[in-house]
């Protein structure tokens, strides 16, 4: 039966835009502006979902984004919240987590056996015998969870924007709008956000039988529209509070990260359900939900209602029900005193009976628990919180409208570090000590009377403006309550239970009692044991009642119980929104395009992309690498080393600086020569290495490894601050390209591109000079990392391509080929050079790596020196050695990280590098071994993947025979 009312002034529906959709296979009509739940309710549907644990039928509870029992799937998406999601034309909706549909859910039997599933039952069963747990676990996992994830759901791009404002106001209800209006004339930049589709908050639904709210809202919005410095964003929720007033605002389209100078939280309060048997049946709903249905969606909550109230809101809702033509059978007021406000007479005059000091003892379910058929009413003793059954009677009705109190929507205040106190006169937690720049107003501040809320909004605006440095008069608010907006203990016990506190998790009063009796009588323990507040609504309708129950159990005041910690997010927030674009920065050398065009296989080296090797038609990876390596050994090869760190150290104290920073000696270094530069940390661990080129007396040019360059430069800067030497540091890593040309033909090729003599006398190993190559100003370094004859050229990054091309052209005849990092690894291994990061790890010190030669112990100071002095006196645990496998080894492949096993069966070390060298004709590598066994020719055992032992022998380096020039 349709519950849709004729058009109402307050409604959000677009009557001229009818739409249709499907729910559980049935077709329904709705209007644009409906939510899924409002459309179904208007169509007379009551069973909108099933509860998570007991599979009880559920309908509308709050219509405020915590009706988490109404979760839907549309074939693409799942866990869609019916109470707030706009219904769209053509939607095909089904309810999640049912077995056989929402009406015929086969799992509904669980409700009948709920008594054998007491709180925490799963801790007490299924674990013995151990072997059966996987069986039970499988069943438990399948029955848990809500919707089924769609593995084909498209990856959505949601933009995340930063924005900044002077004042962010959260909540566009009467309080927030008033605050905005008060602040607007003072020239501050204001953003107002509200999660609802339209602004107004309670003004948009809490009519209380008059059109005053609507008029006030229209006035406020009209006034506010005059200020260009105010932005009002609806359909936008504040998802959390983060340090220094960073608040992400979530909308369908994306996230706006607002950095505000001041924040007014006017987020209102969540209405809390009174707790009584069957308070979860479809047709039992919060007063504000009924009002939302009536005002926004022109839909009757029911035809014939019993209002179960303990505050004024119930009476206001009764007025709205009456105005909409709903029969109000009675108002059942938990309070012996009843309601003091003037609405009482108006309601009585319309023939509604009011029972004070009474309760709804239980709700009588309609067939299949699909709705309500009546309410059992009896007297209630407020002091003992006991129903008095002697005078009970039944009223037939199809709806229970309940209103017993509130919990502040204070999540963001808590997250910001607000100290809260329990305001007894309002029976509510309210802010006591707010962090700088945070302000709270309205219901969240414990103020409910509309006139007082408006005042409170003005007060918060005045305080925020003062905080922002504006001169404004202060505003005071009288916090007065004719009656408390919240009841201190709106619970009605029932021997048969099913008086629900947490609708997400189907937790009723007895569960709390049992949990407390088992020792979980601290609010946090109780939460964890009962799972109260851990469901998708995160306790929005349950935490406050749980606290009240625990306080009663422990006979403590509510404030002694405290609250559980509020954490982001205020509402569950989609991963796609939070992820945004997902930026992954990477660096490329200017040769990258060439590498791509020549079939390079790239590898990530830190933030860089580097060619690992180049594909060649008909060649497997390993073969391609061998060919690249053989080219270097037999003719020439070249590699893009533009990614190397390039650091300039200049000034009168440059050599002194390097002596302290690196392990070697640099004061004696000659201009035009290079030296090995090894960097340790203060614990003596090897961090990085490179070469230091002395360009002038006061000018060194240093290379650092690709991955460590930024960190090495940063450390140089920091130590320079401490040492205060007369040095200037320049990081030119990106400014220069780098090319390493290696192999016997290298000199010949290069000599055709430069006038600089390249012979051993003019440019010996370890020499550096500035010259021109192919017309490009270049720094030329004679290096030996991958080959005994190699030239490293550093040229302006924009010219690297020109030099690369020139080398290729000139070297084509000799067989010059490019090679990548995989080949470079093999080549340096053949040369007997270890690699920091590959042959060392995060704790390797130079004695283990055999790098003592790079250390000038006699210097007055270098980083790590004092630690090395200590380490030097300790026995060495392992030592890196070069090794070979026997000639013609054909056995199982030895892999890097295979272990070196001693005669005692213990681990002595591991293989850090191994490769078959086509030049040497056997397997060569580096391994950590027992330091007592490092002499050339000493044998040790390596254990293969399959567990067999293979003998290796310590070898001399370089592995390759140094070759004369081709």
């Amino acid at each position: 039966m349709s519950k849709r009312l004729p058009q109402r002034a307050s409604e959000w529906l677009k009557r001229d835009k009818p739409i249709s959709f499907y729910f559980e296979g049935q077709k329904y009509q709705a209007y644009e502006g409906d939510t899924i739940s409002s459309a179904l309710w208007a169509a007379g549907e009551t069973v909108l979902g099933r509860s998570f644990k007991y599979h009880r039928p559920r309908g509308v509870l709050s219509l405020a984004n915590h009706d988490v029992n109404v979760m839907l799937a549309d074939g693409t998406d799942t866990n869609m919240r019916g109470d707030v999601l706009p219904v769209q034309d053509g939607m095909q909706l089904t309810v999640v987590n049912t077995d056989g549909g929402v009406k015929n859910d086969k799992k509904r039997f669980i409700d009948a056996i709920s008594s054998i599933l007491p709180v925490g039952f799963y801790y007490k069963a299924f674990h013995t015998p151990r072997s059966l747990f996987p069986f039970w676990e499988n069943i438990i996992r399948k029955s848990a969870g809500l919707g089924v994830v769609n593995f084909n759901y498209p990856r959505e791009l949601k933009r995340k924007l930063h924005t900044h404002c002077d004042l962010l106001i959260i909540g566009a209800g009467p309080t927030g709008l008033t605050a905005a209006l008060m602040a607007a004339p003072h020239g501050v930049n204001i953003i107002v956000v509200d999660e609802n589709a339209q602004a107004g908050g309670s003004l948009s639904y809490d009519l209380g039988g008059s059109d005053e709210s609507a008029k006030r809202l229209a006035d406020l919005l009209a006034e506010l529209a005059k200020y260009p410095n105010v932005t009002l964003r609806t359909g936008a929720y504040a998802a959390g509070y983060y340090t220094d007033h960073l608040i992400p605002i979530v909308e369908t389209t994306g996230i706006t990260k607002v950095r505000a100078k001041a924040v007014i939280v006017a987020s209102g309060a969540f209405e809390q359900p009174p707790v009584f048997r069957n308070n979860d049946l479809p047709g039992v709903m919060l007063a504000t939900a009924a009002q939302r249905l009536l005002a926004r969606y022109a839909t009757k909550p029911c035809e014939s209602a019993v209002v179960f109230a303990a505050n004024k809101q119930g009476y206001r809702a009764a007025m709205d029900l009456l105005d909409a033509g709903v029969t109000v059978k009675a108002i059942v007021d938990l309070r012996a005193e009843g309601e003091p406000c003037s609405l009482v007479d108006a309601i009585k005059s319309r023939g509604v009976a009011i029972y004070n000091g009474a309760c709804v003892y239980e709700v009588l379910p309609a067939a299949n628990k699909f709705g309500v058929k009546g309410a059992v009413i009896c007297s209630y003793d407020e002091a003992s919180a006991k129903p008095l059954l002697h005078d009970r009677f039944t009223l037939a009705c199809d709806g229970i409208i309940m209103s017993a109190g509130w919990a502040p929507a204070a999540a963001l205040l808590y997250q910001a570090g607000t100290g809260m106190r329990y305001e007894k006169s309002a029976e509510q937690f309210v802010p006591a000590k707010l962090p700088a720049g945070m302000f709270a107003a309205g219901k969240v501040n414990g103020i409910f009377d509309l006139a007082q809320r408006l005042q409170d909004g003005a007060r918060a605006a005045s305080e925020a403006l003062t905080y922002l440095g504006k001169q404004v008069p202060s505003v005071t608010v009288d916090r007065e309550y004719i009656a408390s907006p919240s009841h201190p203990y709106p619970m009605v016990e029932h021997p048969k239970g099913k008086n629900f506190v947490d609708f997400d998790e189907d937790i009723s009063i007895k569960d709390f009692v049992h949990a407390a009796q088992e020792g979980f009588d601290n609010i946090e323990l109780m939460k964890r044991f009962t799972t109260v507040g851990m469901g998708p609504s995160q306790g929005k309708h349950s935490n406050m009642n749980a606290i009240r129950i625990l306080a009663r159990i422990r006979q403590l005041p509510v404030e002694r119980i405290g609250t559980t910690t509020a954490r982001p997010f205020f509402h569950p927030t989609p991963i796609g929104h939070l992820a945004g674009r997902g930026l992954h920065p990477h660096r490329l050398t200017t040769l990258h395009g060439w590498h791509e065009a020549h079939d390079a296989e790239f590898t990530d080296v830190g933030v860089w992309k580097r060619p690992a090797w180049y594909r060649r038609a008909g060649l497997e990876k390993q073969q391609a690498i061998y060919e690249e390596a053989l080219a270097v050994r037999k003719a020439a090869g070249m590699i893009d080393v533009g990614t190397l760190g390039k650091l300039e150290v200049r000034g009168p104290d440059a050599a002194e600086f390097l002596e302290r920073f690196y392990t070697g000696s640099f004061k004696t270094q000659k201009i035009g020569r290079t030296r090995y530069a090894l960097l340790l940390d203060e614990a003596g661990v090897m961090v990085d290495d490179g070469i230091a080129c002395r360009i002038a007396e006061d000018y060194f040019y240093i290379t650092a490894s690709t991955t460590n360059a930024a960190a090495v430069y940063r450390e140089m800067q920091r130590w320079l601050q401490i040492w205060q030497l007369d040095v200037g540091l320049v990081n030119v890593t990106g400014a220069y390209g780098g090319i390493n040309l290696a192999g016997p033909a290298a000199r010949g090729i290069l000599s055709r591109l430069t006038l600089r003599p390249l012979d051993d006398a003019s440019l010996p190993f370890g020499a550096v000079c500035d010259t021109e190559i192919a017309g490009v100003p270049a720094r030329l370094i004679r290096v030996g990392f991958v080959s005994d004859l190699a030239f490293e050229m550093h040229v302006p990054a924009g010219s690297a391509q020109h030099v690369w091309n020139a080398l290729l052209e000139n070297g084509a005849a000799e067989g010059l080929r490019p090679f990548g990092t995989d080949t470079q690894r093999l080549l340096r291994l053949e040369m007997g050079n270890h690699l920091i990061g590959q042959d060392t790890d995060g704790l390797t010190q130079p004695f283990e790596a055999g790098s003592e030669g790079a250390i000038q112990f006699e210097k007055p100071f270098f980083i790590g020196q004092r630690s090395l002095q200590i380490i030097a006196r300790k026995p060495l645990n392992k030592r890196l050695v070069p090794f070979t496998l026997s000639e013609g080894y054909q056995g199982e492949t030895i892999n890097e990280c295979n272990l070196v096993i001693g005669a005692d069966g213990n681990i002595k070390g591991r293989v850090t590098s191994i490769a078959f060298s086509p030049t040497v004709g056997r397997f060569i590598g580096f391994a950590y071994v027992d330091p007592a066994n490092v002499a050339e020719g000493a044998a040790f055992n390596i254990r293969t993947d399959s567990g067999s032992l293979v003998m290796a022998r310590v070898a001399a380096t370089p592995f390759v025979q140094l070759q004369s020039e081709a």
Binding site: D244, R714, R718, Q721, N731, R866, S867
Partner: protein, 87 residues
């Protein structure tokens, strides 16, 4: 995200900075005992409180000192190393 004020570039989100740890005074390597030196290398003032720390503003390459309470995460002041008096 937390904001931090670089003495040269102004107030920026934390993502622009690299944390350099507590500023610790190095004992004289020539004088310090092995255990005193090891304590300098490894031990830290782990308890919460106001500490002087190294922070680095990446886009400009600026090291500076922040006096920060590690319990409340409140920064009392920032200044360039050696310019404490001018802060």
């Amino acid at each position: 995200m937390k904001l931090l004020t670089c003495p040269v570039n102004g107030t920026r989100p934390l993502s622009e900075f690299v944390f350099g740890g507590e500023i610790r005074n190095m004992p004289d390597p020539a004088q310090a005992s092995d255990s005193a030196w090891a304590a300098y290398v490894y031990n830290r003032t782990g308890a919460p409180g106001l500490k002087k720390e190294w922070w680095y503003h990446s886009p400009s390459g600026t090291w500076f000192v922040a006096e920060r309470n590690t319990l409340t995460d409140q920064v009392a002041r920032t200044y360039l190393y050696g310019q404490e008096d001018k802060a």
